[in-house]
């Protein structure tokens, strides 16, 4: 059968996340290599003008589902959105459009709905892909396993395939100023039932104004070398100057110095920022697993034999209490802030 790609991209408050541009660009690239059509799907309110702009990343058509219309079908009052309903929208649209390859941005939301879509569409599934290529007409997806300590290449059986793409890994490629055509999807055509709203998000609580490590381009992380939670302001001040997220090692999270939401590593979050600054983190193997795919790693530690230096691009052997404030001041100077 001939291929057809559907790319589902996440929008929030009428804007696309960067991951949306990455997924559209990758869909454009893969559709070119497979010689097939691709369409983009999104769910949102007041998103049309933004959706047209996906044309500059190669999308010729964007299918838009109105979030308010979708929520009006929910059995739970006050629904903000529903993962199960989103999954139905993606699966139903893929089916109606005859798409056999579905790409989804691997955001928290994307990773949540993707397994549901895989079952609804009976697709072979790769969650958290970091590279895609075509080999003899077949899609091969590369996925990190064991928290990035190794990678597997996956070949899919059958022609229905669903892949989520890890954010921050694929390159968004602008290909011009073309506007994508918008096609409004009538929610009534999606065959939704009460079962498709079996769970619903009633409220979203933003824990702080701080950036989340999973989304940040720069992360400053602290570990045991900071000696106590009262010294984390060093990390926070440096992160503030760089517009970075703050992260933490498992040891300091387990000790209760920082919340689990900041934990980087195998039982925390796996991150791929362009710059990762590790302060007072010795580099236990499970921490290295979660951050070793960062593009540039700076380690600050007084122990010259700390394992973190083995994967650091730049290492500062010395006292964090002396180096971090100096680094903060220097960044302030060069960044003019």
């Amino acid at each position: 059968m001939s291929n057809r790609i559907l790319a589902f991209v996440e929008s929030k408050d009428g804007k696309f996340k960067n991951s949306a541009f990455e997924v559209v660009s990758e869909a454009k690239k893969i559709s070119g290599e497979l010689g097939c059509e691709f369409e983009v799907l999104t769910i949102g309110s007041g998103i049309d003008a933004e959706a047209e702009n996906l044309g500059s990343y190669g999308a010729s058509k964007v299918l838009v589902v109105d979030l308010n219309d979708l929520n009006s079908k929910s059995k739970f009052p006050g629904t903000q959105y529903s993962h199960s309903a989103f999954a139905k929208v993606v699966a139903e649209t893929a089916s109606q459009k005859g798409a056999n390859i579905i790409l989804i941005s691997g955001t928290g939301l994307g990773k949540e709905i993707a397994p549901r879509v895989a079952i609804k569409t009976d697709s072979a599934f790769c969650q958290d892909c970091v590279a895609l290529h075509i080999d003899g007409g077949n899609i091969i997806a590369t996925k990190p396993v064991y928290a990035g300590k190794s990678m597997i290449d996956m070949k899919f059986n059958g022609d229905k395939i669903l892949i989520t793409l890890r954010p921050n890994v694929f390159k968004p490629v602008k290909s011009g100023d073309a506007k994508a055509a918008i096609e409004k999807v009538d929610v009534g055509s999606l065959n939704l039932t009460d079962k498709d709203f079996s769970s619903a998000v009633k409220e979203v609580v933003v824990s702080s104004e701080k950036l989340d490590v999973a989304e940040a381009d720069i992360i400053v992380s602290g570990g045991r070398g900071l000696r106590g939670p009262e010294n984390f302001h060093l990390v926070e001040t440096l992160a503030g100057v760089l517009g970075a997220a703050t992260g933490a090692s498992r040891a300091v999270v387990d000790a209760g110095w920082r919340g689990h939401g900041e934990q980087v590593g195998q039982t925390g979050k796996t991150v791929s920022p362009s710059l990762y600054i590790a302060v007072g983190i010795s580099g236990a193997i499970q921490h290295l697993a979660g951050m070793s795919s960062s593009k540039t790693i700076v380690a600050i530690n007084k122990d010259k034999d700390a394992p973190i230096f083995q994967i650091a691009d730049y290492g500062m052997v010395g006292d964090a209490f002396e180096i971090v404030p100096a680094l903060t001041d220097e960044f302030k100077k060069v960044l003019g802030s």
Partner: protein
């Protein structure tokens, strides 16, 4: 309350991964295995719900004989029953695991199914939602707080930069995240009691694979970095390199 908890056996998180001779899986020599850390939260949550509401906790796993170790850990914590859906090989994908678990769970009609949010080996964050789809239960994953009142569920799940408050109804599938509870340590009495609990073996219903691993490889090795040893005096040079060489600032 009939609660089923899915458990899996995974390499210890400190394992150094070596590629096996088949170049498609890890070399298992010297690897120590543990109950998937996120599954410990699921077992603990199941036990707390049983202690509050009555009922039973059944630990199930899909895997080879070795997966019994995960069930035995759940026994030590306090699960009553254990079921191994016994695979002949360790070569299976997420769909295969979910399908076999779902086929067994469906026949049991539990009130609640608990899993860890993901297993730390393949980290697909998929099995809870896949099983839920297959048995047509609602699913809430990455849950850090769970309230069940009658058949109404209110859960907090962790998302980027915050939390979602999610509502649903029993029966349901829940995936647990660190923070939901503090898993108990087995005491001597429960360890002794666990020894007499048998693991029921069940034949898999599905033996297909949706994908094949064509190659496993290690991430590219990093070349040695530049190491500075003069403390704060080296800071200007480091910042210069981050701007001009690494171009990340």
């Amino acid at each position: 309350m009939k609660i089923i908890v899915g458990v899996s056996l995974v390499p210890d998180s400190t394992t150094k991964v070596k590629i096996g001779a088949d170049k498609k899986s890890i070399d298992e020599a010297g690897v120590s295995y543990i109950l998937n850390p996120y599954d410990e939260f699921a077992v603990e949550e199941a036990l707390q719900l049983k202690e509050k509401n009555g009922g039973e906790v059944i630990a199930i796993s899909y895997g080879t004989d070795k997966a019994k170790e995960a069930i035995k850990k759940a026994f030590q914590m306090g699960a009553e029953k254990g079921v191994l859906i016994k695979s002949a090989t360790a070569d299976f994908d997420t769909y295969t695991a979910a399908k076999n678990l779902a086929d067994y769970i469906k026949g049991q009609s539990p009130d609640l199914v608990l899993f860890g949010k993901t297993s730390i080996d393949f980290d697909g964050l998929s099995v809870p939602a896949m099983v839920a789809e297959m048995i047509e239960y609602p699913c809430i994953n990455v849950v850090v707080k769970l309230d069940i009142n009658g058949n109404e569920i209110t859960a907090e799940r962790e998302i980027e930069g915050g939390k979602e408050i999610v509502v649903s109804n029993l029966p349901a599938v829940i995936g647990t995240q660190k923070g939901i509870n503090n898993p108990r340590y087995p005491n001597l009495k429960s360890i002794m009691a666990s020894k007499s609990k048998p693991v029921e073996e069940v034949t898999p219903t599905y033996n297909g694979n949706k994908y094949e691993v064509t190659e496993m490889k290690l991430p590219p090795a990093k070349s040695a970095g530049k190491i500075f040893t003069n403390g704060a005096a080296d800071v200007p040079e480091l910042v210069k390199l981050l701007r001009e060489e690494a171009k990340v600032i």
